[in-house]
Symmetry: D2
Subunit: 104 residues, 4 copies
């Protein structure tokens, strides 16, 4: 089970990329993906092969809308020893952090 | 004003890195930084020079705790045309997304 | 035409990852991919859909060799306005750099 | 000893960023840094604190030349168990790769 963070940076356009990001969100919703927007991109969870197939679909959206060059960053955290879902790590560290503060 | 996402991946250790992340959170709190944990790392906001100074301090934490090798990824979104804060982009895209859904 | 830089960081293992990287090189050679190892990972060139298919194949190699968790970073530079190949950018910037030095 | 790969993507400009990259190279040369351009950015080697100081200097170059928004990606591979230099990993994996081919 993997978490994939996708950050697309179209070049040669305006400074704002919100329209592209909104298009990608719509497409992910249509595909039935489990995703969450964060400050640096869009986080999607799933099996890696499914995620790569999904990526192949949404990747073309900015180019279809006229983008000529795009810099894309993808980060994947893939664990085979346990299930991981969006939000899990935040809860886990926050708990650890609060416990330490209580006991200090 | 910049947003910086910091992801530290200690190598040669166990599969879990939550303890390191919790240590970094504590240090950021002590430094009075504006930050938020997300699924891929820790997001910090501020002026870039302040962020780099802060980074120099917290970067050593895992090494001080025994890490021998660390892979670090830093992503910075820096705008000089307007103020940006953690959470702003999510609100902006979500609004755009909801508006489109209402008008469709 | 895109350039894709792939960096795989297996976690919960030793500090050295050279064996995994060598396995990936062998697999890329077998697949007939155009690639070059650099200091931060492996650079592959091609059409994005072909690159994603290739990625789906080589991604599993470390897991097949026992890795339990892996952090992966992928960076893609994709231009639709002209052909780009591995090494092109280095030549382009180096030329610009040398010309400036000659004329200064 | 660390290797740092710096990739700067100015937004709201043309599709080409070669001029910015050439400026950064000039600045790194002036600072006496040990660096090498690769297909995804500029690789610099050194002690992490020196690298962050250097980064603080060159980071402003595109903004000084009029950039309004910039997406920056930094990747750091930092080993405390042995010296690492630009090019070392490529040699190490290439040797492993050739040896396997000879013995197969």
């Amino acid at each position: 089970m993997a978490l994939l963070q996708l950050t697309m940076v179209p070049m040669g356009e305006g400074v704002s990329v919100g329209d592209h990001v909104a298009e990608i969100q719509k497409s992910l919703e249509k595909e039935g993906a489990t995703f969450r927007l964060n400050d640096m991109g869009t986080l999607i969870e799933g099996d890696i092969q499914e995620l790569l197939t999904l990526l192949g679909k949404i990747y073309e959206i900015p180019f279809n809308n006229g983008t000529l060059r795009m810099f894309t960053q993808i980060v994947i955290d893939d664990r085979r020893d346990k299930e991981i879902h969006i939000g899990d790590k935040i809860v886990s560290v926050t708990n650890r952090f609060s416990n330490e503060k209580q006991t200090t």
